[in-house]
Amino acid sequence: MTVIPLTTVEQTVRVGRPGARREVVPSGLLGMVIFVGTEVMFFAGLISAFTISKAGAPRDAWNLPAGQVLPLASTAVNTVALFASAALLWVAGRQYRARSPAAVQTLLAATSLGALFVMLQGREWVGLIGHGVTLRSSALGAFFYVIVGTHALHAVAALAGLGVAWWRLRAGRLSYGFFLGAQTFWYFVVLIWPVIYARVYF
């Protein structure tokens, strides 16, 4: 009769840690998921305030000053860059799991595309400010800078995480939990953007 002691099972699940408990999900990933949940509610609050204010405001009072409109087309290009970045990050994750050295270049490309998104957004802001669209110019201007600016801050923070992940991967010191955390945060930045784009720009 075959008897499998529990300790034997535990020992063989985690090599090198006799009797250690098994980790179902990396702590870094779980922490990031909880953090992303709070951030989702933060953006939901902003978008909720925007939607109610827009629905209650007179049509004339909501427009930007001097007949300005938000740059729809160039932002669509930025959005494509952002989604391409997310796709490359997904590929980088697969390569990393397969221990392929190409993961370093793919992760760098994903980070670069994300940085391109932030830079293009910054260029749009400079143009809008030049045309007199500021935080105090109108209600739409105020909401625009607060919501899009907050998203840009999150994008910069997520890019910093991806940059650290790339640096550690290049040095051979990247832990899987850190990679998953950085990946999750970037996916959040990417997935919240279409909601903001559809709600604020149109």
Binding site: T12, V13, V25
Partner: protein
């Protein structure tokens, strides 16, 4: 000098309903809280400690009743500046839709997280069975506290040994 009290009913705006309800709560709760303090003072003199505990229970009941009355107050809570815009334009639909979104979104996220964790635990339980190999795409690859390795594989694929008796 005593203040003169007007018998004229105040205009019923949202603010009056809200603050009126809050005043009602204060009137109901404060005397009972004071009585609770008196009972607690008596505990040290004549009563046993266990006889003082119902004072807390009574206060809690009054607080519950007051909270129920407040929720039944016919007005908005005016919890945020945006909520004050309700009914001033065509934004009632937006207010209701956003209220539903802000209510359901956290519930959905918590539910999804619980479902995801339950699934991971169930999968881990399956993998714990003798003779089952750890999946190569497991989330816990490379997360061994003893090894912060450069590549996934801290938890290597192993077939469990079975010690035979």
């Amino acid at each position: 000098m005593r203040e003169s009290i007007s018998n004229e009913a105040p205009p019923q705006t949202l603010e009056h309903v809200w603050f009126g309800s809050a005043s009602l709560g204060t009137v109901l709760v404060l005397p009972r809280l004071q009585r609770g303090v008196d009972v607690l003072k008596a505990v040290g003199k004549n009563l046993t400690q266990s006889q003082g505990i119902p004072a807390f229970k009574a206060s809690r009941r009054i607080v519950s009743i007051t909270a129920s009355l407040l929720t039944a107050a016919p007005g908005s809570a005016l919890a945020c500046p945006v909520c004050a815009l309700v009914g001033t334009g065509n934004n009632t639909w937006a207010y209701q839709a956003m209220s539903a979104m802000l209510t359901l979104l956290p519930l959905a996220m918590v539910g999804a997280t619980v479902w995801w964790l339950t699934r991971l635990v169930a999968r881990a339980d399956t993998e714990r069975r003798p003779g089952v190999e750890v999946a190569s795409d497991s989330l816990v690859q490379g997360t061994s506290p003893t090894r912060r390795g450069s590549a996934p594989g801290g938890l290597v694929s192993v077939t469990r040994r079975a010690s035979a008796e």
